[in-house]
């Protein structure tokens, strides 16, 4: 397949990249791992006028923990996240989701930040980010802003970045006490988009009750869906199968899946419920150190 013609630049620093993006405005498109963008260009579903390749901006490749959060830079690959001890120590949901992102080839090249910015409702990362309450650092030549993930994900393939802005980092709250999480995904084969994906996040208080619950759903709504009603319902409650079943029932009602080749809506709702129960059970076991 042959993409439409485009221009290309490969800045060597973040400053230069931001300057180029500022100059290009709407025409500019950041190329990081390219695992969604390049196939779309190849199929002529996307025809950006100018690619700004950030692969030489080494300062963006970090995965680190500081000030109570995990920071994943714009050049950190999915494979880096999957193999990071920092990640697995500080957030189980993220660690659990990383090996489910596409296939090993895509994980070696694709980036977490790129996937978050892409806002594909069938992408896995934004469900995780919604469940754990992440935020997105956006930079432009005129400065930096930190956007809560709930404000960042606007809709189907739509984020809240302004022209000239790019995602430089995703920030994920690091565990401060007993906490656990999981990402369960039903896919038809490795590398497939989710039929259903469920991200669960559970923080316990001193008495073992739910201090904070997070629940994000993939591929069953127009965008990745944060099930706030279930999260609020669970807060302060004693965790266990009954509570998780209640959350599962809320999740199944909250989603709005399509009938398609991946199955009828009724089936997807049933899997959302099943995986919500299974996911929170795994999260609880991990939070109690039984995982």
């Amino acid at each position: 397949m042959y993409p439409s013609a485009f221009d290309y630049s490969a800045p060597g620093s973040l400053e230069e990249a931001l300057a180029t993006l500022a100059e290009l405005g709407d025409e500019g498109r950041v190329l990081a791992g390219g695992q969604s963008l390049i196939p779309m260009m190849k199929l002529r579903l996307a025809a950006p006028g100018h690619l700004v390749d950030i692969n030489r901006v080494d300062e963006l490749a970090h995965i680190s923990e500081s000030n109570g959060h995990l920071a994943v830079g714009a050049l950190a690959r999915h494979a880096d996240v999957a193999s990071s001890e920092t990640v697995s120590r500080h957030n189980h949901t993220v660690a659990s989701a990383a090996p489910w992102v596409s296939d090993p080839l895509v994980r070696n090249r694709g980036t977490l930040c790129g996937s978050v910015a892409h806002c594909d409702p069938e992408g896995d990362w934004n469900s995780v980010m919604l469940a754990v309450g992440a935020s997105v650092v956006a930079r432009s030549s005129s400065g930096e802003r930190v956007i809560p993930i709930t404000d960042f994900v606007v809709d189907f393939f739509t984020n809240s970045l302004d022209p000239g802005e790019m995602v430089t980092e995703v920030r994920i709250p690091a565990y401060q006490g007993p906490a656990g999480g999981a990402y369960l995904k039903l896919e038809r084969k490795v590398g497939d988009y989710a039929t259903v994906g469920v991200a669960t996040h559970l923080v316990l208080d001193g008495s073992g009750n739910v201090a904070q619950a997070g629940l994000g759903l993939t591929a069953v709504y127009g965008h990745n869906l944060k099930v706030t009603e279930a999260e609020e319902m669970m807060a302060g409650q004693a965790p266990g199968p009954e509570l998780f079943a209640e959350a599962a029932a809320i999740a199944a009602r909250a989603c709005d899946p399509d009938d398609n080749v991946r199955g009828p809506a009724e089936y997807k709702r049933a899997v959302v419920a099943e995986y919500t129960r299974r996911g929170f059970a795994q999260a609880l076991a991990l939070a109690r150190g039984e995982g």
Partner: protein, 790 residues
């Protein structure tokens, strides 16, 4: 009793039974293969095809003026332009016609409408969006049931066509079958759809057409499984003199039946080269390959078995409705309108069967190619193996025992089937017993009984059995031809003075290992080391005529020709040896590679004989040591086997995984056991794909869902189960080396084993069928009474 073949030759000679490494792998593994897109000729132009975005529409007009203005665009060719040369339509391999470029209407999404010829592939692709086609959309017919019910005529351009029926066909005997059903103690029935699939070879189709405007010589480099037949078709369709057509196939990255037909792109690229006087390259994209080239299967099947009071099968009925797409272009022998589907009585001994088949035109891509399959034997095998399994469950017999009770017995071969096949040989009980022993069948049944007995169990075990019989190696010329070309095949062998050899074949490898396997046949017959034998194919100027490689016919037909030509040469070599040893011909003993005078140690090697053929041949004998054979097989060959799969079904989400799988194959004598194992493992994986995930479907508007590898799923090492392979050896009694063909057995036999395993797990929950692919939502839907659509 069946035994494994012990090699007769040394490992250095590498005759039959040696797992020598594949000679071709050196270049493939090093990335030094030579595929079509690697070919670049001086001055070569590039072609891109504009395809219909809709499934059914009248073409009101095509305006290509804006495309013609793009720099680097040399021509835009439409159906109208081709019609002026009588090339807008071409014949299919099933005697129907197919549009090369659409003139009146488009009849499926992805149909070829126009082409751009440009100096660069990017320019050609850019120009496509500047061709303006005015489509007037029509009702899309997306199922054969809808096709037979509607008054919309899909093939309204076709003279004499008054309905949407592409063909009708029947086999067997209706009266005796009806009588058996009337007398039956029990009738078991099954309705199932074998879904549309696509061979999806890794290398897509393509052509580089180089027509010399001075000499008229047309050299056509292409991805074809049957280059000689293509040459003749080109001569007949385009009216080019056949001696001026040379079809060249280089390395081919998989065919699986997809590269048997002639596609419009080949014809237009050739016409464009003729018109412009420069070479023209067309390389299909993945999407083009999946949406427009030959699909496979798409059989809607109804079948019934009649049983007597002792659970013996007495008769079978089958009625097929096939979805042919817009043109009837099955690649199959002329006499058989539904291929060899009437092999559907399978491995079982009963006297009566009746099979009817009807094909319907729909607004979908044409095809019906035999995807790793001998002309619809895959659908047949799936049907009987699913039906037999359900029958066993209905009469509450173990499915393996029910099969053993009804198998054709070893002493019944050759066996005349109720639909007219003469099975050459078989030992079905032997393969079944071996498979059961390898997998620990009784142990798994005990574990299943225990685990599934728990009413709260969310993980259910199922055990699936399939005991397939194939019919491969087309075929005897009295019955088998394609467009009148008899399905013999050929081998030409030349022994050089230094004892090295070149073998030229009419069959065409697409990765099966012909360069190794066929050299091993010569090594077996003449004792010349396999590494000294160069194997050539796929250049019609330099190889003998043959019908190509598909339907597991290379070893049964081309392999037989190779053995026979080797024996011809050995007969002449014996005369030469007698001359050299000054002995009578009949006083010589032969062992691979050497003639010895009986009772002495006087001998000459085949290499010494070869040298003498060019340097010291006796007076009155022609010099040289070479020959050619065209082999017309006396019968088909009938490989068989038993596959057993154990699965675990998760009732919460409907997923299932393979816990263990055993495949026991009997393909007669195995030439290279390693290559055979590779063929079986690949075939099992393709069978697993169809059972687990893979199909091409369409929405109600006729849009193809499955147009790239995100939607048309091909399993990787991550999903593929582990297999244990076993063998029994029942040589074909009529094949010169006792071989039967194996490339397709596992694709044919395995899908039913997987489906049977899932159904076996769910039978006690009231589930008796789930169509392939057995997707998680279909499993969950069957358990929860939710209709899964599509």
């Amino acid at each position: 009793m069946t035994t494994v073949h012990e090699p007769r030759t040394s490992p250095e000679v590498g005759g039959i039974g040696h797992s020598v490494r594949r000679k071709e792998d050196d270049r493939f593994i090093r990335g030094a293969g030579n595929y079509l897109d690697d070919l670049n000729l001086p001055g070569m132009l590039h072609m891109a095809i504009l395809r219909s975005p809709v499934a059914h529409a009248r073409i009101n007009s095509i305006d290509s003026s804006a495309a013609m203005e793009i720099e680097g665009v040399l021509a835009v060719i439409t159906g109208e332009a081709l019609a002026a040369h009588g090339l807008a339509w071409m014949p299919t391999l099933s005697g129907d016609t197919q549009a090369v470029l659409a003139t009146d209407k488009v009849r499926f999404q992805g149909q070829e409408v126009a082409v751009v010829i440009a100096t660069h592939p990017y320019i050609a692709h850019d120009a496509l969006s500047h061709i303006d086609v005015d489509y007037e959309e029509l009702e899309a017919i997306t199922s054969p049931q809808q096709s037979l019910a509607t008054s919309t005529l899909i093939r309204d351009e076709k003279e004499g066509q008054t309905d949407n029926v592409a063909y009708t066909w029947e086999a067997g005997d209706q009266d005796s079958t009806d009588a058996a059903f009337a007398a039956a103690a029990r009738v078991v029935s099954l309705d199932t759809h074998y879904p549309r699939s696509h061979p999806a070879p890794l290398e897509t189709c393509g052509v580089v057409a180089d027509v010399n405007s001075i000499t008229g010589q047309a050299t056509i480099y292409m991805t074809s499984q049957a280059p000689h037949a293509i040459r003749t078709v080109f001569a007949l369709v385009a009216g080019l003199p056949e001696e001026k057509i040379r079809i060249v196939t280089q390395d081919i990255g998989g065919g699986f039946g997809n590269k048997v037909p002639v596609y419009p792109g080949y014809v237009v690229a050739t016409a464009a080269s003729l018109l412009i006087g420069k070479p023209v390259k067309w390389i299909e994209s993945r999407t083009e390959n999946l949406i427009s080239t030959g699909f496979a299967r798409d059989f809607h099947m109804h079948a019934e078995l009649a049983l007597d009071g002792d659970n013996r099968i007495t008769a079978m009925r089958a009625g097929i409705l096939s979805d042919q797409g817009a043109f009837f272009s099955d690649a199959q022998p002329t006499q058989f309108r539904a291929g060899l589907f009437h092999i559907c009585t399978g491995s079982y001994d009963f006297p009566s069967a009746h099979v009817t088949a009807k094909g319907a035109y729909t607004n979908k891509a044409p095809g019906g190619v035999a995807y790793r399959c001998s002309f619809r034997v895959t659908e047949a095998s799936y049907l009987i193996e699913r039906l037999v399994d359900n029958a066993a469950h209905e009469v509450e017999m173990d499915p393996a025992d029910f099969r053993a009770l009804n198998f054709i017995k070893e002493d019944q071969f050759p066996y005349l089937s109720p639909t007219g096949f003469v099975y050459d040989s078989g030992n079905y009980h032997g393969a079944m017993d071996k498979a059961k022993e390898m997998i620990g069948y009784d142990g798994w049944r005990a574990r299943q009984a225990e685990q599934n007995a728990d009413p709260d169990a969310t993980k259910l075990i199922g055990i699936g059995v399939a005991s397939f019989t194939e019919v491969v190696g087309a075929g005897p010329s009295r019955q088998y031809d394609i467009l009148g070309l008899k399905m013999f095949d050929s081998a030409e062998l030349r022994i050089h003075p230094t004892g090295k050899a070149i073998l030229k074949l009419g069959v065409q490898t697409q990765g099966q290992g012909h360069e190794t396997t066929f050299a091993q046949i010569v090594a077996e017959e003449l004792g010349i080391p396999y590494s000294d034998i160069k194997v050539m194919y796929g250049d019609t100027d330099n190889t003998p005529y043959g019908l190509g490689t598909y339907a597991s016919r290379s070893t049964p037909v081309g392999g037989a020709a190779t053995a026979v030509v080797s024996r011809k040469i050995r007969a002449k070599a014996q005369k030469l040896a007698a001359h050299l040893l000054e002995a009578a011909e009949e006083d010589l003993d032969w062992e691979p590679g050497k003639f010895t005078v009986k009772g002495t140690d006087q001998s000459v090697t085949i290499q010494e004989v070869a040298f003498a053929a060019y340097t010291n041949h006796p007076v009155g004998m022609e010099a040289g040591l070479e020959g050619v054979t065209y082999y017309d097989p006396p019968n088909m060959t009938y490989p068989f086997g038993t596959y057993i799969v154990v699965v675990e079904v998760d009732t919460g989400d409907g997923t299932w995984k393979v816990l263990e799988m055993v495949a026991v194959d009997d393909c007669g004598v195995r030439i290279n056991p390693m290559i055979v194992d590779g063929q079986i493992a690949g075939g099992l994986t393709e069978g697993f794909a169809k059972a687990n995930m893979q199909w091409i479907t369409f929405d109600d508007d006729g849009n193809c869902i499955g147009s790239n590898f995100m939607d048309y799923l091909v399993p990787t090492a991550w999903e593929t189960p582990r297999y244990q392979l076993g063998e029994t050896v029942t040589p074909s009694p009529h094949h010169p080396i006792g071989a039967k063909g194996v490339g397709e057995s596992a694709t044919v036999g395995s899908p039913a084993a997987f489906t049977n395993a899932v159904i076996d797990a769910l039978w006690s929950k009231g589930v008796s069928n789930i169509d392939m692919p057995v997707l998680p939502h279909r499993v969950w839907g069957a358990l929860n009474g939710v209709e899964a659509s599509p």
